[in-house]
Symmetry: C2
Subunit: 330 residues, 2 copies
């Protein structure tokens, strides 16, 4: 392997001190345009690049950003990861993907590790962490962006603006004459409760529809939990005429179960998802859903993180607009 | 934030030198069982952990493993990433996911970067790299595992054993009376050609079926390319009666197009995918496919990588068995 070019080599080739080379690279002190050019030309000529490990030790931070999500094999998070990488790559940051399985112990362990490993930043979708969990990272000045439906203390948040979309979904369901609304909701013990369920209840009530307690089931955000929850709903005394699911993955699980139970969607029961991942247009009937674009969530999260890396410290909240998309399942 | 415990603190608490603590941690020199125990107890008591950046600088390697794939939002790679993470986490390695978009320039840049960043190892699915591309990493003793259908020089390889599965797929198609076989193949300029296409041709010929040149289309491994390729095939003078696709994502694209063209699957044309990702059971009709389990590919790749990290240097090839799965699209 070829010998690594050092900052000293660059300084010698450019006829300046190593300190000057360092100023050109870091921008920490002004240098003349002429000096900048001759250093840059020496860098290009010699193929110099900073040793990332040495740079990490100097700055105390790696060039790695941790993305901590429940499950990277859920297409929503895979697409978010993709988008994040596309945005951060231009600044030479790499994305380390970590799965929590939505387990509290894993969420805590990975957050601790992200701090110990001196990551340049953390982007996380927490499920069961306390809302104070990010205070240690904030005190250590580690940039953090949370992507969630609720705020987690004084940290940047990317969150859906879904009021209009849910109102429209409820109206759409009501317009087809359906009165009894069921919900396949998230886990009962998720931090901050279940804002998606709350939104559905609010807008259903406003439209004069009722979401009775027996028509709400709680479970994980998985295909299997969606199937189980849907079965439970459809076995209730008077089954719901429309079921809204916490995400598309659980809605697809509901479709699996409808098949097994011999129920027709939307003939016997209408079905609405949340997110609009690829799955939504793959299933038949195509899934009516509330589009929450993972790509845009990743893009905004990256921008917020870079702002923090560049020095902003006051927390921001970015709303990503969700839209109702009517397809064949309603 | 609490003060970081140093190796020096551990040495003082255990009543030994810092060098002795270092020997206990690295195992580089023998220490007595008694010494080992008192150091370990001091470590546990103080909650000492190695500063990863300092450790990286000492070993010259980070605790990061690069996973370089065409597109993490393709469910095959998302599941592979998940499985890899599950396996490597026990050894405290983190997975950095990088997307190449199957572009040669990106493949080269990311490989260069993986070397400069001193990753602990690289797991890659190359598309257009030369088969010699990994020699620099090998000379630098960076552990590498390639996941691909062809070998890339003297590096570890995880590859499908799909002969039986393809033979069975062809026989299954032939048994339903279909004679003209079409193939939505991979890109024409992929390194090593297209082994999946070659396998189909071989087994079709053995079964007395013909894959004529006009019934082979080349394209990227994407849903859009699958749709385009399928349209091209179905517009040929005598369209194929069965179409085999390079992966499930392109097969789903073919289904999109069948819908648009008003063609019935399997009535008008039978369709076979490759991989058996979630998509395969979501689409209607459910997709007949050749199961190549991403989860198992990730697990084996992780094991091979850890063996190299632990000192093995002779390259190995691991075959992961592919199976034919008949569903409703044939």
């Amino acid at each position: 392997m070829q010998q690594r070019v050092t900052m000293h080599d660059v300084a010698r080739a450019a006829g300046v001190s190593s300190a000057t080379v360092s100023y050109v690279l870091s921008g920490k002190r002004p240098v003349t345009e002429e000096t900048r050019r001759s250093v840059q030309s020496a860098i290009d000529r010699l193929g110099f690049s900073l040793n990332p490990v040495a740079r990490s030790l100097r700055t105390g931070r790696s060039m790695m950003v941790a993305l901590i999500v429940p499950d990277i094999s859920n297409p929503f998070y895979a697409l978010l990861a993709r988008s994040l990488q596309d945005e951060l790559r231009g600044r030479e940051y790499h994305v380390v993907v970590c799965n929590t399985g939505a387990q509290l112990a894993e969420e805590q362990a990975l957050l601790r590790e992200a701090m110990q490993q001196r990551f340049a930043g953390v982007i996380m979708t927490p499920f069961r962490l306390s809302t104070q969990a990010f205070e240690a990272l904030r005190s250590a000045a580690v940039p953090v962006v949370v992507s969630a439906d609720i705020a987690f203390g004084e940290v940047d948040l990317v969150t859906p603006d879904a009021e209009d979309a849910v109102r429209e979904a409820i109206r759409h369901v009501a317009d087809s004459g359906r009165r009894r609304i069921g919900v396949v909701a998230g886990p009962r013990d998720a931090t901050g409760g279940d804002p998606r369920l709350d939104r559905i209840r609010t807008h259903a009530a406003a439209a004069g529809l009722r979401v009775s307690q027996e028509h709400i089931v709680h479970g994980e955000h998985t295909r299997a939990a969606g199937a189980q929850g849907f079965r439970h709903l459809m076995r209730s005394r008077r089954p719901p005429e429309a079921v809204l699911c916490v995400n598309d993955v659980t809605a697809v699980g509901a479709m699996d179960m409808a098949d097994r139970l011999g129920l027709d969607i939307p003939g016997d029961v209408a079905l609405v998802g949340h997110d609009d991942i690829d799955f939504a247009t793959l299933v038949r009937p195509r899934l009516t859903t509330i589009r929450y674009p993972a790509h845009e969530v990743g893009r905004i999260a990256a921008l917020l993180l870079l702002e923090q890396i560049d020095g902003r410290s006051d927390p921001r909240t970015a709303y990503v607009s969700a839209d109702f998309v009517a397809r064949a399942s309603t």
